[in-house]
């Protein structure tokens, strides 16, 4: 039976590829190339880092293997956190579960099928990032292609064991508390863990390892370097297997790899056996809706007090209410808070000495923060129209103008995005002690970028609506999402280019190498205005028309 289930996956996979249109081939080739470029960039970065570490006298090798062990430990933690989320959706909320549970299949077969799917989706991308690292390690240490095979043989049990932890945790939690509320708790807990892991990695300041002044400190901790990193975890077993393979100790590699495989089979076997007893209890409980009585008072809505316009206020109220009741959004908010903290921490740790350099970075921060805002726009603003989903008929059949719906989506996104834009600009300027001109220019630029990104998000979201998607990631990774992100980055780049001349004149004036030219500043201002008008109006109008014509 399990073979039949596997065959249906293979059939789905090949049917999907065989039915790609020319456009889809092109699009996927573009995505593939971008991904490959990213991996190549990572490889280059890893290679430089490892080459530098290898060159450190006496402790070079020690540093490399310590870094490898730390990287694997980090990978292990990330796969666990990732599998918490995927196990929850795959094992308990997939759309095909009703079909599978109705079919004459044993629970263990269903669990095996869905848990392997969960393990794959939780780990493939994180596992893939190890490939450029290993390739860089092979280059630095002069290892042959056989080493890659040794890595490829040792990797699957490592990833499977990590995923098993997440799956087991979710399975047990849903068994102990079989309600849909558990889903919310797991979701928030996982996001919190992800934020903490992300923050910890950044606050550990790994860049110190490649700075000579920090290496003295590392040398003092030679004993620490020689000690195993979490020796009871599979990440250490893999690190040891990789080290032994690199040293030509085939027997040691084979023993550790076989041990990992045996442990993975044992753990997974126990998990499948356990699932036969408890999986259905959790599944059944997860299907029950959470009952929490809410009393609605028929009073003026807060938005109505603020805006006065009834339908616009009602739309905003609906948006706010449904947004904050969806626990998936809380987790996103946690991640954003983590992202903002890490961003500001990174700015604060920049090794900038002169006031001029600090001011320049404050200006260039418009580009980096613009990228962060575009990423937030892709997550929150661009999907806003599509997230109306199958309830779209309620708004479409109501006496509302499409423009009004779009304006409400814009307003709901603009408030937090502007808040984040202002925080990033003001805090960066404060941390870097930027001069007054640069501070005001970067603040104004970033607030405008925030507004334009919202307008483009709503416009492109309306231009590429998809009301049938099951989850938000499908919207983000769609063609529309790709076009939106590309347009945003292009717009941010143009903003920097258009505002560069006044910034340049400001620096020239400060250094006494030039004077302020009002005509150039005027042209620059006009260019900025035109750029923003185009960014606001073109996607908005195209989107509005597309949404009116949507069938």
């Amino acid at each position: 039976m399990f073979g039949t289930l596997l065959r249906r996956r293979a059939r789905t996979f090949f049917n999907t590829i065989l039915h790609w249109t020319g456009y889809e081939w092109l699009r996927n080739a573009a995505f593939g190339s971008a991904g490959f470029g990213l991996l190549f960039g990572l490889h280059d970065g890893f290679y430089r880092l490892l080459k530098y570490l290898a060159g450190v006298e006496l402790i070079g090798l020690l540093l490399i293997w310590k870094l490898t062990a730390m990287l694997l430990l980090m990978t292990f933690s990330m796969v666990i956190v990732s599998s918490l989320l995927t196990a929850l959706t795959t094992l308990f909320y997939s759309s095909d579960l009703k079909f599978l549970f109705k079919a004459p299949l044993s629970l263990r077969v269903v669990f095996l099928d869905k848990s392997l799917e969960s393990a794959f989706f939780a780990s493939w991308m994180i596992g893939l990032i190890l490939v450029p690292y290993i390739a860089a390690l092979m280059r630095v240490r002069g290892l042959g292609a056989g080493y890659f095979l040794a890595f490829a043989a040792a990797l699957p049990p490592f990833l499977l064991l990590a995923a098993s932890f997440g799956i087991a945790f979710t399975l047990l939690l849903l068994w102990l508390f079989p309600t849909s509320r558990t889903r919310d708790i797991v979701w928030v807990f996982s996001s919190l863990s992800l934020t903490v892991v992300y923050g910890l990695v950044r606050f550990a300041q790994p860049e110190r390892l490649i700075r000579p002044d920090a290496l003295k400190v590392v040398a003092e901790y030679l004993n620490f370097l020689q000690a195993p990193t979490a020796p009871y975890l599979p990440s250490w077993w893999l690190a040891e297997a990789l080290r032994m393979a690199a040293e030509g100790n085939g027997r040691g590699w084979a023993l550790r790899t076989a041990g990992s495989w045996a442990m993975a089979c044992l753990v997974y076997g126990l998990l499948v056996a356990l699932a036969g007893k408890i999986y259905f209890i959790g599944y059944s409980g997860a299907q029950e809706g959470a009952l929490h009585r809410r009393v609605h008072a028929f009073q003026l809505l807060p938005e109505q007090r603020l805006l006065g316009v009834r339908s616009a206020a009602a739309l905003l109220w609906k948006e706010r209410t449904t947004f904050f009741r969806d626990v998936k959004h809380w987790s996103q908010i946690l991640l954003i808070m983590g992202l903002v903290f890490v961003y500001l921490f990174s700015i604060q740790r920049l090794p900038l000495d002169s006031a001029e350099l600090k001011s320049l970075v404050s200006f260039l921060n418009v580009g980096a923060a613009g990228f962060v805002l575009a990423a937030l726009g892709l997550r929150f603003t661009f999907p806003a129209i599509s997230l109306e989903g199958r309830s779209w008929w309620v708004l479409r059949s109501a006496p509302l103008d499409i423009g009004q719906i779009m304006r409400e989506k814009f307003a709901f996104s603009a408030v937090p995005i502007l808040g984040i834009a202002a925080t990033l600009a003001a805090m960066t300027n404060w941390i870097l002690e930027a001069d007054r001109f640069t501070s005001w220019l970067s603040l104004a630029a970033l607030l405008t970028v925030g507004l334009a990104i919202c307008a483009m998000g709503v416009g492109f979201g309306a231009l590429f609506p998809n009301f049938l998607v099951e989850n938000i990631h499908q919207i983000e990774s769609s063609v529309g999402g790709f076009v939106y992100m590309a347009a945003c980055l292009f717009y941010v780049g143009l903003t920097i280019a258009v505002l560069a001349p006044p910034m340049q004149m400001h620096f020239a004036e400060r250094f006494g190498t030039g004077v302020w030219n009002s005509r150039v500043a005027l042209y620059s201002g006009a260019g900025w205005l035109i750029l923003n008008l185009v960014a606001f109006i073109v996607p908005w109008q195209l989107g509005r028309q597309a949404l009116e014509d949507h069938e």
Binding site: G289, H296, L301, A313, W317, S391, W393, E551
Partner: protein
């Protein structure tokens, strides 16, 4: 009250609806029947402004749906074939939201929302999120939503699907009462018994074309099925006689 003039809709080369002409007068209930894929839901979507016609026009209470969609939609209430509603709103909140969109005054909502919840036996569920509602409960809530703003025209796509017998009876009585008050009702249904008992006129659509429209007696005469029930008339008009050959495959 609602008039369809030469209404057509094509998806590429496929004509989903061709040259449809129909009028529903105040106080009239018109049923719309047809096999799956006949074009009924496409017609409903064009009537309610969810879909732009390829040609022709829809007039709602004298307003052209294409030119003045907001005024046209204000006069209309829709119950779609699948009652998807915002899962993170409660029943009472959904009704409040609909009331706000259609401009129902707050004091009316305060009075009417509990009444409507009571009428559809949803009072114990009024404070629960819609994600916990069954299909039938959502269907009743959507019906409550259109009754809240008291439209002149009702467009209903399979309004009885998922309703328990008591609720179905209640809904039928509501439609009859509304029609008596002058509301024009256009209803797509596969339940021939409902069409037979409820509708003043019945239209039969197949392959995008309206092939018959009239009272039950007029349809009987057209199909030469005098004295037979609507099922026989319908099968005769839509070529259902061939279906006995299909059963041979069983």
């Amino acid at each position: 009250m609602i008039r369809l003039e030469g209404l057509s809709k094509s998806f590429g080369a496929y004509a989903a609806v061709s040259d449809l002409n129909l009028e529903v007068k105040p106080g009239e209930i018109v049923g719309f029947l047809g096999p799956n894929g006949a074009g009924k839901t496409t017609t409903v979507k064009m009537m309610t402004g969810l879909l732009r016609p390829t040609s022709g026009r829809v007039l709602v209470a004298g307003r052209d749906m294409a030119r003045d969609p907001i005024a046209a939609k204000r006069a209309m209430g829709l119950v779609p074939d699948e009652p998807f509603v915002y899962p993170k709103l409660t029943g009472a909140e959904y009704l409040r939201f609909v009331g706000e969109l259609y401009g129902v005054c707050l004091s009316d909502m305060k009075k009417r929302v509990p009444e409507l919840l009571e009428m559809f036996e949803l009072t114990p569920w009024g404070g629960e999120l819609l994600e916990s509602y069954s299909h039938g409960m959502r269907q009743k809530l959507v019906l409550g939503g259109i009754l809240l703003h008291d439209p002149k025209i009702l467009v209903l796509d399979e309004p009885m699907v998922g309703l328990d017998p008591k609720s179905a009876r209640l809904v039928k009585d509501i439609f009859l009462r509304l029609a008596r008050r002058g509301t024009a009702i256009f209803m797509c249904t596969h339940v021939l018994e409902i069409a037979e008992k409820l509708c003043h006129r019945i239209g039969v659509m197949t392959r995008g074309k309206l092939i018959a429209c009239g009272t039950l007696d007029e349809l009987r005469a057209q199909s030469k099925e005098e004295g037979r029930d609507l099922e026989s008339v319908f099968l005769s008009l839509t070529g259902g006689a061939e279906y006995s050959t299909l059963l041979r495959h069983l």
